[in-house]
C-alpha cells in the first residue's frame, strides 16, 4: 500500500444543459466538481453517495467513458485522459467496469460463452483454439458451470447474470475494476453470494476495486477506505474504522443514522435531514450541504470548505471541524 495505483486530481465533469433554438448550452450540470483522491494497489475503495451525487459519473470518467472537463486521472503513471487512442485501447486489459444492471449489460443475442470470449480474442489473449478452455476456467472462478457457455442471457437469473458480467470483466485479467452498484438490483440472499465472490476474486487476483454504492452496510463489509460524496464533491474520506466509529461531516453522520438496522429493540438518535438534494445545475453557494445541514452557520453559506486532513487517514470538508 505504498504507491497509488490510481491518482485523481481535481477532476471535474460538467454536462451542458442545452436550451434555446440552437441547442446552445444554457447552463452546466456539475456532476463531478473537483474531486481528488488516491487508490492504492490491492485495496477496495468505496465511493458512497445518494442518487445525483455524481458517483457514477466519477466512476465512468475515471475510465474515460466520458471526456473530463478538467483535472487529471493518473493510472499507474499513465495520464488516462491524454493517452492517444491506441495506447488507451491497451489500458482496457488493465481496467474494467461493471454496471449496475445485469439485465441490460449483456447482449440478449450473444451466447454467454461468446460474450466472455470476445474481449479475449479482441486483445489477442486467446486463440480460437484455446478460447473455450479459458472461458471455462473463468466461469468456474465465478461459480458458474461450463455447461452454461452455450446458453443465452435470458436463461439466467439476476444473480447468475451478475456472475457472468463479472466473469467478462475479469477475463482480461485486469488490475483495476470499477464496480457501479453491482449488487443493488439483486435479492438479499443473492447479494451476499456476489459480495463474497468480489472478496474471493480480490484475494486470488490481487484486484483493486473502486466500489460505488449507496449501501453503507455493503461498503463497510467490502472496502478498506471509503469516500462520501455529496453533490459532486467528496465531503469525507477515511479508513473504514475511522469513518464508521468517528464520522465528522454532518452529512456522513446523517447518512449513517438513516440506515435501518435490523434490530427493533435498538433505539437510536437519528439525524433526520430536511428536504432533498439540491440540483447540481444550480448548487448552493459555499458548502453545498448547508441547505440541509442542521448545524449550518454563516460561514457555511459563503465559503466553500477546504478538504483537509484531520488525522492521518481522515480527510473532511467542513467548516465546523
Amino acid at each position: 500500500m505504498d504507491r497509488p495505483l490510481l491518482k485523481i486530481t481535481d477532476l471535474k465533469k460538467y454536462f451542458p444543459v442545452k436550451g434555446g433554438l440552437f441547442g446552445r448550452p444554457v447552463g452546466w450540470v456539475r456532476a463531478v466538481d473537483g474531486v481528488s483522491f488516491e487508490i492504492f494497489r490491492g485495496e477496495a475503495f468505496g465511493l458512497v453517495g445518494e442518487s445525483g451525487s455524481g458517483k457514477t459519473t466519477l466512476g465512468q470518467t475515471v475510465l474515460r467513458m466520458h471526456g473530463r472537463t478538467s483535472g487529471q486521472v493518473m493510472f499507474d503513471g499513465l495520464d488516462i485522459h491524454s493517452l492517444p487512442p491506441k495506447e488507451f485501447h491497451k489500458t482496457h486489459t488493465r481496467m474494467q467496469y461493471i454496471f449496475q444492471d445485469p439485465y441490460s449489460s449483456l447482449n440478449p443475442r450473444i451466447r454467454i460463452g461468446d460474450a466472455i470470449a470476445e474481449p479475449l480474442l479482441a486483445h489477442r489473449l486467446a486463440t480460437r483454439a484455446d478460447v473455450r478452455e479459458q472461458v471455462e476456467s473463468i466461469l468456474a472462478q465465478c461459480g458458474m458451470a461450463a455447461r452454461f457457455m452455450d446458453r443465452y442471457p435470458h436463461e439466467f437469473s439476476g444473480g447468475q447474470r451478475q456472475r457472468i458480467v463479472i466473469a467478462r470483466a475479469i477475463a482480461l485479467n485486469p488490475e483495476f475494476i470499477v464496480a457501479d452498484e453491482p449488487v443493488s438490483s439483486l435479492d438479499v440472499s443473492i447479494q451476499a453470494q456476489i459480495i463474497n465472490l468480489f472478496s474471493d476474486l480480490q484475494e486470488e487476483r490481487k484486484l483493486t476495486y473502486l466500489f460505488i454504492s449507496h449501501d453503507l452496510g455493503i461498503v463497510e463489509h467490502l472496502c478498506s477506505r471509503i469516500a462520501i460524496m455529496y453533490l459532486g464533491s467528496v465531503v469525507e474520506l477515511a479508513t473504514r474504522s475511522e469513518l464508521f466509529l468517528n464520522p465528522i461531516h454532518p452529512y456522513t453522520k446523517a447518512l449513517l443514522s438513516a440506515v435501518p438496522i435490523p434490530d427493533p429493540e435498538r433505539k437510536r438518535s437519528r439525524i433526520v435531514l430536511n428536504g432533498d438534494v439540491p440540483s447540481p445545475e444550480n448548487p448552493p453557494s459555499g458548502c453545498r450541504f448547508h441547505t440541509r445541514c442542521p448545524f449550518a452557520k454563516d460561514i457555511c453559506r459563503e465559503k466553500v470548505p477546504e478538504f483537509r486532513k484531520v488525522e492521518d487517514h481522515h480527510q473532511v470538508a467542513c467548516h465546523l471541524f
Binding site: V188, S189, E220, A254, A258, P260, I261, R270, V272
Partner: protein
Amino acid sequence: MEEPIITVRNLQTFFHLEGRVSKAVDNVSFSVPKGKVICIVGESGCGKSVTALSLLRLVDFPGRIAGGEILFHNRDILKMNTKEIHNLRGDKISMIFQEPMTSLNPVFTIGRQISETLLEHTLCDRKEAWEEGVELIKKVGLPRAEKIMDSYPHELSGGMLQRVMIAIALSCQPELLIADEPTTALDVTIQAQVLDLLRQLRDQSDMSILFITHDLGVVAEIADYVIVMYAGRIIEEAPVTELFRHPRHPYTRGLLKSRPVIGQRRDRLYSIKGQVPDLSELPQGCYFADRCESCMEPCRKEYPESVSDAGGHKTACLLYKEGVANGSTTAEDY
C-alpha cells in the same frame, strides 16, 4: 386482541402461463388488527406483492384468485360486485406503490390528482376538494403546499412524489393502507423521512398499515408484527421483537445473517446457496429444502405445517414440529 380490520384466509392466487400454473400465493392466511403495522417480508418472487394486490382484487390476467376469502369487516372482498369493490378502493383501503414516478399521471397537476380521489368518494365540490388537498400536502410535511398543488409530477423529486402518493392515499382517511415497497426507490435519508411520516400517521389516526418490503432493516424500524414469505407461502410469523430475537426458520435466519450490518462486520458474509425455486415446478416437500442447511429426510416428502408456540410465533418447519421445547435447541446460534 381487537377485532381485526381485515382477515385473509387460505388465499390462493395463481398465474396461468403457457399451460403451466405458477402458484404465486398459496394458502396464505393472516389478519391485520386496528392501528398496527404488519410487514410482509420476502425476496422477489415470494408472492408478497401479489398478496397485496389480491387484497384489492387488482391482480391482472393471467393471474387469478383461485381460492380463499378476504374478510373486510366480515364482508368477503372476493364476493363483492364491481361497484362495491370500486367504493372500497381508495376510500376504506388505499395503496401506495414502489415507484412514485410511474404511479402519478404526468399530464395532470398534483392538485387535480389529489382532488380526484376526494371528488370520487366524498360529497364535496371542487373548491373544497382543492382546499382539502392543500391540507393533506401540509400533513405529509411538504413545504409550499399551494405551489405543489399546481406543479406536475416531473417537477418534484422522488421523495416528494412518494409523499404526494401518501397524501392521496390518506385523502379519504382509510382504515387500511397497503404500502408496497414504498421506500425501495428512495435514498436512505429520504427513506428515513418517509418511515417517520408513516409512523407518525399511524399514531395520529389509528390507521393500520400492511407494509410490504424486502429489507429487514426497514421491518425492524416500522413493524409491529412480521410475516416472512418464501415461494408463495408464509414460512414464519411473529411479533417483531420476537422474530428478530429468536428467528426460527432457516430461511429467516439466513436472511438475517446474509445482510451486512454496520458495526458488526464479519470477514465473510453468510450466504444462502442456490436460488428461489421456479413457482410452476415447486418440489414436493418443503420449498426451501434445496437451499437449507438443516434439511432432513422428511423435509423432502411433505410440506411442513405451520406450528405455533404459546407466544404466537408460527413457523412452518419440521425442526419445530415436535413441539417448541426441543425446537429452541436448534435456534441457538443467531
